[in-house]
């Protein structure tokens, strides 16, 4: 499974668990307008670390992602 798919799947899983309605997922969608709040995104990040073994935030020296596209790119770059 691609990194992109893993990110999208986790967003759907967490949205369902937290009873949030997810907007259609497009790269230019603002993360905080996706229907997930910051707690949900924190859970997505933790789940992705468990699943992919990647924590792109660990280095500290990154820009906070604003769009879904940037968020996915963060994981794709870290997976390389």
């Amino acid at each position: 499974m691609s990194v992109r798919q893993a990110v999208l799947d986790q967003m759907r899983i967490v949205a369902e668990q937290q009873r949030k309605t997810l907007k259609p997922l497009a790269d230019d969608l603002l993360l905080l307008e996706s229907g997930l709040d910051s707690l949900c995104i924190a859970i997505v990040v933790a789940n992705l670390e468990d699943e992919l073994g990647i924590d792109p935030f660990a280095g500290g020296d990154i820009e906070m992602p604003t769009t879904l596209g940037e968020f996915i790119a963060l994981y794709e770059n870290a997976a390389r």
Binding site: S38, V45, A46, M64, P65
Partner: protein
């Protein structure tokens, strides 16, 4: 003879500057109007010497009522919107509340200013407790304004704002800076998204703004951070790591980025303005002239930060232990570690988990997990998060290691969701073979 006490509204109006306002997303009040108007249904004199609980959903009506009643009421309790109905009777009894007021957002009563505003009103702040009654911490205007004497307070024409609710200590500090320093105040809205709030802050020309690191991460992620251009950006309430400090400096290149250490009980102890995480070792001990001049002394004992300060809250209300030790130092419960010439924050000693500024006591979550018949033992711990600082993680030891954990896991999460707010529900939940126990017989609690 000591100088006569001046009330909050008297000090607020003393600057004499015109055009100062306080407002939220729907209302804006000219501060000069406070000289004659109140938002109370009864004359202010009706509250003389009484203990008043303010219980409004939004912040503005509580702030206006506080301005009307400071110096007149014996005690003003700044109720939080999450004060549960089932705790109301206990709060009323414990704090000796005479009246519960639910004032509106707009000024309407026109009455002459009271002649006597000399009562040393106690301001009661609520802090998040475990399950039972929220703790109530007693402050006075003097203990709350002590921390403001740091050169930031009086900046003419400043427009202050905060992501915090000003009924909480971190937000109240900002409100007082605005009111006492001759500035205006922009309150965050109860139902306002972070992007809308940032855009409004920009429109209203906010110059000074504060929030927790989690508030700020959310602001940076919103894509709307550039909608305002503050001169001063402040972080408090959680550990400010180097990444968030650097990100804010990049987002607001013209701004001073400072982080402050404060707790409801100990008051604001110090702020750090060099752009680096942690604080200099020189802050600790009786010889720091900068801090001692402000009546603050820091001590590190048993790995936690202790603060002695004239800004310390007077006491807890009700049946709670004394705030300070024999020498007047308050144990903040925040663990620090020295690396080189700096101290860095490690997390809370008792394991309180700070999820985006909301506290979670591990025991309250463990109590629910342990109720499940398949669970022998559980440990709830703070898992580090780059988004909210920490999230709640749980390890459980099953009675029967061969049990179907997937099914148990789902039941545990369902049980937690049924009785806890979302930020307290474990975000990760694992089965483990055993949990480490200290010699004291207590679970060893790791730190974030």
């Amino acid at each position: 003879m000591p100088p006569a006490r001046r009330s909050l509204v008297e000090i607020t109006l003393a600057s004499g500057r015109a055009g100062r306002t306080i407002g939220d997303e729907t209302n804006r009040i000219d501060l000069a109007d406070l000289a004659v108007h109140t938002n109370l249904a009864e004359p202010r004199e009706a509250s003389r010497g009484r203990a008043v609980l303010l219980r409004t959903r939004t912040q503005l009506p509580t702030v206006l009522a506080l301005l009307a009643l400071d110096g007149i009421a014996r005690r003003v309790l700044l109720g939080l919107p999450d004060l549960k109905a089932e705790h109301l009777a206990g709060v009323i009894q414990e704090a000796g509340v005479d009246d519960v007021l639910v004032p509106p957002s707009l000024l309407r009563r026109d009455e002459p200013a009271p002649a006597d505003r000399s009562v040393e009103t106690e301001w009661i702040l609520f802090t998040s407790g475990t399950t039972g009654l929220p703790k109530m911490v007693a402050h006075t205007l003097a203990s709350l304004t002590g921390p403001l004497d740091d050169g930031l307070a009086v900046v003419p024409g400043s427009v202050w704002s905060t992501f915090y609710d000003v009924r909480r200590y971190g937000g109240l500090q900002i409100l007082l800076r605005a009111l006492l320093g001759g500035g205006s105040m922009v309150l965050s809205g109860a139902d306002e998204g972070v992007g809308d709030f940032l855009a409004r802050a920009g429109r209203e020309g906010v110059t000074h703004i504060s929030g927790t690191p989690s508030h700020w991460r959310r602001a940076l992620m919103s894509g709307a951070a550039h909608r305002m251009a503050p001169k001063y950006v402040r972080l408090s309430g959680e550990i400010a790591d180097q990444a968030i400090l650097d990100n804010l400096k990049a987002a607001y290149p013209g701004a001073e980025v400072a982080h402050a250490f404060a707790s409801t009980e100990a008051g604001v102890a110090f702020d750090v303005r060099d752009g680096l995480a942690g604080f200099p070792v020189s802050y600790v001990g009786p010889s720091n002239a900068h801090l001692t001049a402000k009546g603050v002394e820091l001590r590190v004992k048993d790995g936690t930060l202790r603060i002695r300060s004239t800004r310390t809250a007077s006491r807890y209300l009700g049946d709670c232990p004394a705030l300070g030790d024999g020498e007047g130092f308050v144990d903040t419960g925040d663990m620090v570690e020295r690396r080189g010439e700096r101290y860095y924050f490690l997390g809370r000693r008792e394991g309180v988990i700070n999820v985006g500024g909301q506290k979670v006591h591990p025991e309250e979550v463990e109590a629910i997990l342990n109720r499940h018949p398949a669970v022998r033992l559980s440990l709830v711990w703070p898992r580090k998060s780059p988004i909210t600082g920490a999230i709640v993680a749980a390890d459980v030891v099953l009675r029967d290691p061969a049990a179907d954990f997937a099914a148990v896991r789902q039941q545990l999460l369902d049980a937690c969701r049924a009785s806890l707010p979302a930020h307290k529900v474990p975000a990760s939940l694992r089965a483990v073979a055993s949990l480490p126990v200290a010699e004291s017989g207590k679970l060893l609690r790791p730190h974030a």
